[in-house]
Symmetry: C2
Subunit: 385 residues, 2 copies
């Protein structure tokens, strides 16, 4: 296996992005806001082999700026290409073991990584949708994933797993299609955004909308709102870190020099780092997608649905088994919010395991390779197989 | 006293902003960055009566966007005019008792509330300084306050009091002019910014500098960078609040409507509130002043100076008496940072009292009328009179 040798860090090897298009007129997708929309293309990737009885599928849901590329590499010819965003978790013998499971990850509706989003061409005009793209919800994203699974002939998934906005999709799966889900692993997530989380999203949106290049969303032919998007990313990035992690990673260390510039250059490493993160982001992400996805996250609220899903309403033999994971230093979706989810599920008689992982690196902890999370997920999946 | 009757909430009555100008060429102010600068005008206000022996002065240092208007009213004719920003603390019989003390507050150098700042006319060109304004530090702000006190013939201050960046000025007074300070009350502050605090300031600066109207600081004749400044204020505002306070104040309550707009209007009250705070701020504050003051706060670092100020180096009979105050929900300058200050001062043999106040309203707690803080400060001052 030369592929594995040349990419020794990853054991999934070379993977390929695939596309599924549905909701062709007149059979449009009915969105949660009542609008009808289509066609919809969903970019997705799969890893491992689907069992003959199609019982071994695991759906991985990605976070805000993620994509379908969970593990492995697209090409064999670029030495330093990075593997997928959760390569440490997904692969043969890993937490989500591709020797056992058929793993699927789909880019969310509204994104800009292959699935239909505000930057996609509007078939009616051939121009990008811009703000003519409809407001999509986490529920709509899940409906699109359901359509993809239908197309693959998968009637039941062994597990749905995801962190952050990926975790919201996990919860949405559980309330919308409970009969299709055997295990659910929502990580570093919440049943609904707090005012603080909405506030940071709103600041990010306002930053983009304050950029004259944004031009009410019509910028695809010209200059893009790079400045606004970069600031928006800086805001988001800080919320994904933690006070402790930033002290450890940057402290007050200076960038290139020994003394202050006494000007508005980046004196501190943390300033350079944030500027770099902002610039890097504009090269890979679409500002309008940020607007749509953050709004979907703000709208998301499964508290009522979760409260309704109790034993009285759920007489199935095989109820969903939940593994809920939070991180001590996550201040975007703090552990108290995970505990509210645990309490809600326990009150309604669900099968819940909960683990708070001690980590100083904030909300993004679930994306950082960590044996504890891999073993936790691996063990949980083994126990439910 | 008709003044007091018509402004029953304030007992200081009508006050007047005063101005002191110094550092006339060729006797310029030498700044910490080595540059010489002048003339410098400092706007200030006083409350109460200076004792004949000039021993009862208390200097109040204001926070980032504050001004010299601590208490009372400027006019008697506007019923709904708001009193000064710390009217609950400063007045006859209040925590800082103007029947006993002569209270002075000076607008900081670099600000836009009467003291010389980047929006002031450069005498060489008659145009506003813009980025030709020199980078000033917390130390420079304190040197300007010292010049003001000299002009008033005050050789020793009974106390220097301030929260946030005001607290930094308090600490700077203690390390720079310890022989002039009898008591120091730094509130909700830090010896130096953490990477997190620098990060939020940098995001605010980048937001302003991303606004094309900012025009490298030259906007005074034309359109101002209102959009960038509004977003910067939104960022700052969130850091002054807390998760708890925002849950209590806003939660997920909707603005004006019963359902989601499924668009980019402000659906949630917290969104409207932040937008309102942003818009309100651009009407009263100068974007360049934000750049300069946040940079001064980021540069501020008295850890080394504080460590040097020990019994070995301080043989005075009357050492400074410190009262250090922090708030449980302040995540900008959390209590652990106040405790570092306490430890540093204790290690060097200083006279330190420390109080952490239980409050859910975040960093801005010290600005909110609270009997606990008033009694704490009043009691401390009484004990040292």
């Amino acid at each position: 296996m030369t592929l594995e040798t040349s990419h020794s860090r990853s054991s999934v090897g070379i993977v390929e992005k695939q596309y599924y298009t549905f909701a062709h007129p007149p059979e449009l997708l009915v969105l949660e806001n009542g609008a009808e929309f289509g066609p919809v293309t969903i970019a997705y990737e799969t890893y491992g082999t689907l069992a003959e009885d199609k019982s071994n599928a695991i759906l991985v849901a990605h976070a805000f700026s993620g994509d379908s590329h969970v593990a492995g590499y697209y090409r064999d010819d670029i030495e330093d290409e990075k593997p997928g965003w959760w390569d440490s978790m997904v692969g043969p013998g890993k937490g989500i073991d591709t020797d056992k499971y058929f793993v699927i990850c789909a880019n969310i509706l509204g994104s800009c990584m292959g699935s239909t989003g505000p930057g996609s061409p509007n078939p009616e005009t051939s121009d990008p949708y811009g703000l003519d793209f409809p407001m999509v919800t986490i529920g709509d994203m899940v409906n699109a994933q359901k359509a993809l699974l239908d197309s693959l002939g998968i009637e039941r998934i062994h597990a749905v797993v995801g962190g952050s906005i990926g975790g919201m999709q996990v919860l949405q799966w559980c309330v919308r299609f409970p009969e299709m889900v055997r295990c659910a692993i929502p990580i570093a997530t919440t049943m609904r955004h707090s005012a603080l989380a909405i506030a940071f999203n709103e600041i990010a949106r306002q930053s983009i909308m304050a950029d004259p290049n944004w031009n009410n969303g019509n910028y695809y032919g010209g200059s893009r709102p790079d400045m606004g998007l970069a600031v928006a990313r800086m805001v988001g990035h800080v919320t994904y870190l933690s006070d402790e992690a930033m002290r450890r990673k940057f402290g007050r260390r200076l960038q290139d020099k020994e003394t202050f510039s006494f000007g508005f250059n980046a004196d501190f490493q943390v300033e350079s780092y944030l500027r770099h993160q902002g610039i890097k982001f504009v090269n890979r992400f679409d500002a309008n997608s940020l607007l749509y996805i953050t709004k979907a996250a703000d709208y998301f609220d499964v508290v009522e649905s979760m409260n309704k899903s109790g034993p009285a309403n759920d007489t199935r033999q095989n109820k969903i088994k939940y593994l809920i994971v939070s991180y001590t230093s996550d201040w975007l979706y703090p552990t108290y919010q995970a505990k509210e989810l645990v309490k809600t599920l326990k009150r309604t008689g669900q099968d819940v395991s909960f683990c708070e992982i001690e980590a100083d690196c904030g909300h993004d902890a679930f994306l950082i390779p960590d044996d504890r999370l891999s073993k936790l997920i691996g063990g949980f999946l083994n126990g439910t197989a």
